[in-house]
């Protein structure tokens, strides 16, 4: 279970987040959407405990699996050495990762689809590959909560698809509470059960994706006209996609 309870966050005199409450139980996945500067990242940091709250409470387990947008580390470490850092909380101050921890790291890399480059140096990997290694590190923590900061923002379409499939797979396993922020409502449609829309005016909107990711709500959220299209994939159930109608009715 991870979330916020009646959270209030101010930067100076500006109130960024007010009366924000939501919680994600194990087995569900939440996408946080909102325009730039509306507090997506702040809400995420608050959940992780990096952003002090001016009011309200944070609901989170002791260790949260966190996948940053881009790893800060530019160090020459093997991917498996990065992933094994996920075991840090169990290892302790003077401890060293043992065979069991390495095993955890390798199976996390496997689950994140990063086993191929387990022995490669992290600083030689592409942005998309690094993110998979960071996801593996978050999985290696064994935390019941997984928090991802704009996981698909810097990726090309093929890598976006791969990552969303992976997130959807993690969601289908129903063993973690997953939260991610995103700009793109289609990411919410692809990999989330619920969505939290941080509206520029008024209270946030929280509910199942089918009810929240609608053209009306998204128009209110981004101030851009939206169209919802039904796509029929070959042999599969129809799935929905949202298109912004930039420059008037082109997408209609």
């Amino acid at each position: 279970m991870i979330g916020l309870d009646n959270a209030l966050i101010r930067f100076g005199s500006r109130t960024v987040i007010e009366e924000l409450s939501f919680s994600v139980p194990v087995g569900r996945s939440l996408a946080i959407l909102g325009p730039n500067g509306r507090g997506k990242t702040t809400a995420l940091r608050a959940m992780l405990g990096f952003q002090p709250l001016d009011g309200g409470k944070r609901i989170a387990p002791a260790v949260v699996g966190y996948v940053p947008q881009a790893g800060s580390s530019n160090q020459r470490l093997r991917a498996v050495d990065v992933a094994v850092m996920g075991c840090a909380a169990r290892i302790g101050l003077f401890g060293q990762p043992g065979p069991a921890d390495l095993e955890t790291a390798r199976s996390a890399l496997q689950r994140a689809g990063a086993a191929r480059f387990a022995e490669s140096f992290y600083d030689r990997l592409s942005g998309g590959e690094r993110q998979l290694v960071l996801l593996a590190r978050a999985l290696a923590t064994g935390s019941p909560a997984l928090v991802l900061d704009e996981p698909a923002a810097a990726l090309d379409l093929a890598n976006q698809q791969r990552l969303l499939d992976l997130l959807d797979g993690l969601r289908q396993a129903r063993d973690k509470a997953i939260v991610f922020t995103t700009h793109d409502p289609n990411h919410a449609l692809a990999a989330a059960d619920d969505a939290l829309l941080l509206m520029s005016e008024g209270p946030a909107l929280h509910g199942p994706v089918a009810e929240t990711i609608t053209p009306e709500h998204l128009e209110r959220l981004y101030g851009v006209p939206m169209r919802l299209v039904e796509l029929s994939s070959p042999g599969g159930a129809p799935h929905r996609a949202v298109l912004p109608a930039f420059a008037g009715a082109r997408a209609a």
Partner: protein, 353 residues
């Protein structure tokens, strides 16, 4: 296909394991050779076989007072000096490696952060006040820590420490303490305490005795051992603040633990051999180029390389000319150009990202 990729993975694992081992072997050999050369070379040269025989005798009969001149030179003059240089070099290299990891910045080192200058002020103050022995080392250690803490507070802006602020804060604090040392020299008694301060500050192992080895070694060895115990933690502390905290690291507290260890190492070293700059920045870099950024392999390489480098520098300092060249001169001649190169490379890499 599957068996192919497994085989490929295995060979890389094997290579990943053997490569550091080969490098350790090479570095250990380098250290042994430099120690042997240092024991033999000098105004009074001793053959390598004779030097080893004398050393062996000394180990077998530690209580025996050597009588022959070559025995006295090797056992009473050179052996403690070489040993002191080796542990000091190893300690400084490891301290620099630890600091660079914790600051996530390859350009910091104990002397760039003002620790050495603070420690020097502590020592000069003790000498001026007529304090010697253990209390002097205590003051050296304490003021080194004070300097480090000041830099830490100065450089932390909004909970973040940036490269530039750290280096500038180190410069500010270092200059402060350098000025205070100059002030002490200005008011010191030119007959007694002034020469003592000047000589002590120059950075030299020429005063090495077994007693000084006993004074410095515990702090240097304990500090090095502690950083070695923290090797996996240093990998974690090298991450971004938020990432490290999300993995369960109490970053602030653990960073201070590393700082205290570094101050112990630098304090112990400065107490017996004055300020020796540049080792703490050049050696970690050389080691990183050899083995990568994983502190679990990086620290041992830095220890071996630091010890060997210091022994070589000290041998040069005492045998290159008839008079002793101050160590700082040689380390700076080697270190400054290397630092300049690193600085350029560091910012070029930043731009490319």
């Amino acid at each position: 296909m599957t068996s192919d990729s497994t085989a490929a993975a295995e060979t890389t694992t094997v290579r990943g394991l053997t490569r550091p081992v080969t490098i350790y072997g090479g570095l250990a050999a380098l250290l042994l050779v430099s120690v042997l050369v240092s024991l033999c070379a000098g105004r009074f040269s001793v053959g390598p076989e004779r030097a080893l025989a004398i050393l062996w005798q000394g180990v077998l009969h530690p209580g025996l007072v050597p009588s022959a001149i070559d025995e006295r030179v090797v056992l009473l003059v050179r052996a403690p000096r070489v040993l002191l240089a080796a542990v000091a070099g190893a300690g400084l290299a490891v301290a620099g490696t630890g600091l660079q990891g914790v600051f996530r910045n390859p350009l910091v080192s104990p002397d760039i952060l003002g620790i050495s200058q603070g420690a020097a002020f502590g020592g000069a103050l003790a000498i001026t006040l007529g304090i010697w022995g253990l209390p002097l080392i205590g003051m050296v250690f304490l003021l080194g820590l004070v300097a480090l803490v000041s830099v830490g507070f100065l450089a932390r802006i909004n909970g973040r420490t940036e490269t530039v602020t750290v280096i500038l804060a180190g410069l500010v604090v270092g200059s402060m303490f350098t000025a205070l040392v100059s002030l002490l020299q200005f008011i010191a008694d030119p007959e007694s305490s002034l020469p003592a301060i000047v000589f002590w500050l120059m950075g030299s192992f020429s005063t090495a005795t077994w007693q000084r080895v006993l004074i410095a070694a515990p702090g240097l060895l304990a500090g090095t051992a502690l950083l070695w115990a923290l090797r996996f933690r240093l990998n974690l502390l090298s991450l971004d603040e938020a990432e490290a905290r999300s993995l369960g690291v109490r970053t602030e507290r653990e960073r201070w633990l590393v700082f205290a260890v570094v101050a112990t190492i630098v304090g112990s070293q400065v107490a017996v051999s004055g300020i020796i700059s540049w080792i703490g920045i050049v050696i970690p870099h050389a080691a990183r180029l050899l083995v990568g950024h994983d502190h679990r392999v990086l620290l041992p390489s830095a220890v071996l390389l630091g010890a060997a480098f210091m022994v070589v520098i000290d041998t040069l300092a005492r045998s290159a000319s008839s008079a002793e060249i101050p160590l700082g001169v040689i380390t700076a001649l080697v270190g400054a150009p290397v630092f300049a190169l690193l600085l350029r490379r560091h910012y070029r890499e930043r731009k490319e990202q």
